[in-house]
Symmetry: C2
Subunit: 358 residues, 2 copies
């Protein structure tokens, strides 16, 4: 995964509170954008630290991995801000090659992003979802506002259709033993999972209908009615891969919230049992991302905003369903909280449990 | 649950092997039958210990709980057999009141049950599913052969239809914190679970279609299309009951085998986390019984035949899907085995994990 989160664990709450009382601190700006290789992205704004609206003087951002065509990339910059109690405005700008002009996001000044100067002071001490990690205040990852009015949804659809058309499998590593991606579509993909990625277990959130549409072995079962769930179970058995299937309806925050406690608990147990897990749904954007976030949030106890950064920086196409993640948290706690905590502590004692950093 | 299993845990393999080499030992005969209150059941056979085919001299059996009309009861007798290497034959007999004649099961001598004298010696040392518990050799529970040709399936259907017609909920306690039963059909049932049984969590294996047909709150949602899964989630939330739903197709050993590792693992974690769990499907006969058996077998490590006895003696209407139970075992081991073992050991150290005996 991205190096941003490799060097330390979660801060204790005390040091976070101290940080929040400081007016001066680093702020992580981050943005996700569909851009071709060779692109630059920067953040420009009203503060001197942000170039006082001059693109020639504003700080540039770095991608978590080099941009590729047909998929989004995640860009970030840590900027030291002198006084965070002062309101300011900002925007992201990009140029696709060094000699091009900077393209501003949105339509004009009414699309400016705003920092009201109050957030630092308004975070209560009891708020678990602290926003500071490793001494840096994390602004939520956002998407570059396309001037052509391209929506996030159409971006994701464009990405997924391109994966599907190429009969491809698209994935990212989120931590040492955790991959999130699109469904395997062929025996070649299954072999790749096992032999290249060293995956030992798959966790699937497709509905049975989804799985029929995106069948992992179409050559042997061209007929629709022979593409049964059992054939898929048998297929993974043939490759000696453990397989957990939790069918979940797509595009539904409510269904994800219902699925999340079980999914996160099972995923945590598989990883703690030494498995390298490939979590997938259709595109590896919604349901599987939610499950991986549930694991990071409920099992490893990372704050929600940190999980948002971890997920988007390692898999920029991820859709972060914060509502589902928050809704499932207390349910996880009631069902498995204490037992998972003990399991985790035991694992740490034995030094066999992996940190989220890769 | 039945007192048969309260007094000790699993024997170690060495003492079991010693037992198996002994020719003389107690044998537990057990039979399940639909009989009215006031019935007696006995086992009669060719051995002197079994009355030498004379019903006046054969040993009587005891029910695990008093028989009720419209549901089966479980009967057993522990008989000391002098030499188990000698083949013998036997049958179950019953009479519905003390002055009635004994009714013999089946049609005639070709329906005799047979002990070939070889089973005691043919159990290999490596066989995990030992058949001796607490010094008693457990014969598998069986069903009284109805002379009218009534099948086990029609018995179960008769039981379930009677529960459904009475708009009832039928359940049994399998261990301290584990109940197995039919689906709740009304708010009154949910209140009963919470307030009388002190249940804190439900684990449901109905399909969504099953749940629509057997809706727990029909008064508020008489319209079919408003009986959504989400309404059920919200209903249990209203009663502050934790709720896990693992939809599983009925009447399918394969689907049960696929579901079992996850179901057993989750059930074990819920119980270890202090929950009192009500496991249900439609009738509480197939899928929910399988899940409870999975917990007893994979999590508590009880041998398959003991689990068969535990389940049928506590819930005589249970259908024991041994094929699914055996098929899911190695899958459970691969996915969660080591992590569950550590969890269990930790629980035992803290003295907070329940034994299967009630």
């Amino acid at each position: 995964m991205c190096e941003l989160f490799c060097n330390s664990g979660r801060q204790d709450l005390y040091s976070v509170q101290c940080s929040l009382r400081r007016k001066s601190m680093k702020v992580r700006f981050s943005v996700i954008s569909f851009v071709p290789p060779g692109t630059s992205i920067a953040v420009v704004g009203s503060l001197p630290e942000l170039g006082s609206w001059k693109v020639s003087e504003c700080p540039s951002m770095s991608p978590s991995s080099p941009p590729k065509s047909m998929e989004p990339s995640f860009w970030s910059a840590d900027i030291a801000v002198d006084d965070l109690s002062v309101p300011f405005e900002y925007k992201f700008v990009r140029k696709t090659n060094p000699s091009a002009n900077w393209e501003w996001e949105g339509y004009g000044s009414h699309d400016n992003r705003k920092w009201d100067g109050k957030e630092m002071l308004s975070t209560p001490a009891s708020e678990q979802d602290v926003k500071v990690f490793d001494g840096v205040f994390l602004l939520p990852p956002t998407h570059f506002m396309e001037s052509q009015g391209m929506s996030e949804y159409s971006h994701t659809t464009r990405f997924y259709n391109s994966v599907k058309e190429r009969n491809d499998m698209h994935y990212n590593r989120v931590s040492d033993n955790l991959w999130v991606g699109s469904c395997p579509r062929s025996r070649r993909h299954i072999e790749k999972l096992r032999d290249e990625l060293k995956v030992t277990c798959l966790l699937n959130f497709q509905t049975h209908e989804d799985a029929k549409n995106n069948f992992p072995d179409p050559e042997h079962f061209p007929e629709w009615d022979k593409r049964t769930p059992q054939v898929i179970y048998d297929l993974f058995k043939e490759y000696s891969l453990a397989y957990v299937w939790i069918p979940t309806t797509d595009m539904s925050t409510q269904d994800r919230a219902n699925m999340l406690p079980q999914a996160a608990f099972i995923l945590g147990a598989l990883i703690q049992n030494g498995h390298a897990v490939y979590v997938h749904c259709n595109a590896g954007v919604g349901r599987s991302v939610a499950a991986a976030c549930g694991f990071l949030c409920y099992c490893l106890n990372h704050p929600v905003r940190l999980v948002h950064h971890m997920m988007c920086s390692s898999r920029p196409v991820a859709y972060f369903d914060e509502a589902a993640l928050r809704a499932g948290r207390s349910d996880f706690q009631v069902k498995y909280g204490d037992v998972y905590r003990r399991l985790h502590e035991d694992g740490q004692k034995r030094n066999c449990f992996l940190s989220a950093g890769g």
